[in-house]
């Protein structure tokens, strides 16, 4: 049986996955805090004969190549452009750090910043209602909130006092592959993930920027070029399937 069928089918599948990743990137081109993902391809080898690769005499040994394997990588440490919004509760990180959030089940979630909100009990939450792990309560009579580049949150009360209510800390993810992407710009560290606590401004964790949001890291030009490439590669693989089919047809037609 011709291996070309399978190899081409694997190729079609790989390009399909690449297309999915590109589609996801493009659809999030204006999502704040979004980190683009990249598809990586690697050749797959079915069986590696123990020795003698010099002249792969294909009559004697089976072909070792069996197509391609795609893998999707999230490029977490790429910095998006910061855009000033003027809204005091917008928060962006300029650097590689993440803000830790408390998930609904108490699990740790990571967040690249975005719109903050105040919960019913005065707690600082994300716009989606997830509490910050820093657990910061804003007094009820607050008129303005200031967040310093070092993460210290100050509340200006109606009595014109400025009180320090807490500090937003950052964590650094040492290996982007140990984090999985959730929706809403959230990331969940896997079990083996190593998270290093860092004060904003230290150890390359980055600083906090109030009144700004981080733009998506998707570069539309690059995605469009990849999209065309994927389309052509997909078509080429489809051609191979047809050719393999013709070959099989020939073999079947040998006996008239």
């Amino acid at each position: 049986m011709s291996g070309a069928f399978y190899i081409a089918a694997v190729g079609l599948d790989a390009q399909q996955q690449a297309l999915d990743a590109i589609a996801n990137n493009i659809s999030n081109v204006s999502t704040s805090g979004f980190k683009r993902s990249q598809v990586r391809f690697a050749e797959t080898l079915a069986s590696v004969p123990a020795e003698d690769f010099v002249r792969a005499d294909l009559g004697a040994s089976a072909s070792t190549s069996s197509g391609v394997r795609p893998e999707i990588m999230h490029l977490l440490n790429e910095q998006g452009r910061l855009e000033s919004t003027g809204r005091p509760l917008d928060l962006a990180i300029n650097g590689a750090g993440f803000i830790e959030l408390m998930g609904p089940g108490g699990q740790t979630l990571l967040w690249r910043g975005g719109a903050l909100d105040l919960g019913d009990d005065g707690k600082l939450t994300t716009a989606a209602g997830l509490e910050l792990k820093a657990n910061i309560s804003i007094p009820a009579d607050t008129t303005a909130i200031e967040i310093g580049t070092d993460g210290i949150v100050r509340a200006r009360t109606s009595a014109s006092e400025v009180i320090e209510v807490g500090q937003i800390m950052l964590v650094k993810v040492e290996n982007p592959a140990s984090v999985e992407l959730l929706d809403g710009g959230l990331y969940r560290p896997r079990e083996q993930a190593r998270l290093a606590d860092a004060k904003p401004g230290e150890d390359g964790a980055g600083i906090l920027v109030q009144g700004s949001i981080e733009r998506s890291t998707v570069d539309l030009n690059q995605e469009m070029v990849s999209l065309l490439m994927v389309q052509r590669a997909y078509a080429a693989n489809a051609q191979i399937v047809q050719a393999a089919d013709q070959l099989m047809g020939l073999a079947n037609g040998l006996r008239r």
Binding site: S2, G3, A4, F5, I7, A8, V10, G11, A14, Q15, Q38, R40, F41, A42, E43, L45, V48, F53, V54, R55, A56, D57, L58, G59, S63, T64, S65, S66, G67, V68, E71, M73, L75, N77, E78, A96, K172, E174, N175, P176, A177, S178, Q192, G204, M229, R232, A233, A236, N237, Q239, I240, A243, A244, Q246, L247, L250, G253, L254, R255, R256
Partner: protein
């Protein structure tokens, strides 16, 4: 006459292998560091009647692929000669030009197939962060501190790497030496050197050759049929 059918069989099987090799090249059209494979056939020196007429050889086109920018600090492209060294599953080193790396669970730098990248001093390259800088000579800097050097290797004195697939190689018998003046480019990848047009032409050619082989079999079959019926009549 049996030789004819043997030839036809060899033609058919060669075409099939050609299409298979093309399929693998096309599937790896977008695989970084992939080198396209070509099948050549040559007349078999054996005089054994039952041996196929041709034997097939696989050759790699080792031409440099185009470099393109990815902005990922763990993507490394080699400009010029040399290959990265990896620790193979059996402990023996394997070589590749495919330089898309990621950090493994324990901080090891691994390629997409999960093989650990080796430093010039031997041993796996282990990093604590992916925010690194790689200089053209392979020196890896974490911040301002050099932590290791990635070596590039090439076969000693005119030898050739032995290919496992289109992107993985073994050292030849003579061994390897370090490339004296390596040129690494960070945040870039070397694209596959597969040329789609060539692949399609090879595929069409293989299909037509197969058609020819099939005709040969059919003609042989027809001739045999006619011979049997003619001689059968004569004997009556």
């Amino acid at each position: 006459m049996a030789d004819l059918i043997e030839s036809a069989r060899a033609i058919l099987s060669l075409s099939e292998r050609r299409v298979e090799a093309t399929a693998n090249n096309v599937a790896n059209l977008t695989t970084p560091g992939f080198k396209s494979e070509r099948l050549y056939s040559e007349t078999s020196p054996e005089t054994d009647l039952h041996a196929p007429e041709t034997s097939q050889l696989k050759r790699l086109d080792l031409a440099q692929g185009r470099l393109s920018k990815t902005n990922n600090p763990l993507d490394l492209a080699i400009s010029g000669p040399g290959m990265f060294q990896f620790r193979g599953v059996d402990g023996l080193p394997v070589y590749s030009r495919s330089g898309q790396f990621k950090l493994g669970d324990d901080g090891r730098v691994v390629n997409a197939q999960g093989l650990a990248l080796q430093t010039a001093d031997g041993g796996d390259l282990i990093l604590s962060t992916d925010a690194i800088k790689v200089l053209a000579d392979g020196t890896v800097m974490e911040g301002e501190r050099p932590v290791a050097r990635i070596g590039l290797y090439r076969p000693t004195s005119g030898g050739q790497f032995l290919s496992i697939g289109g992107s993985l190689f073994r050292a030849p018998g003579d061994g390897v030496e370090e490339v004296a003046a390596p040129d690494l480019r960070q945040a870039m990848i070397e694209n596959s050197n597969v040329v789609l047009g060539d692949e399609m032409v090879t595929m069409m050619e293989a299909l037509r050759t197969a058609e020819g082989g099939a005709r040969l079999v059919q003609n042989y079959d027809e001739l045999m049929g006619r011979a049997i019926s003619t001689f059968g009549q004569g004997a009556r």
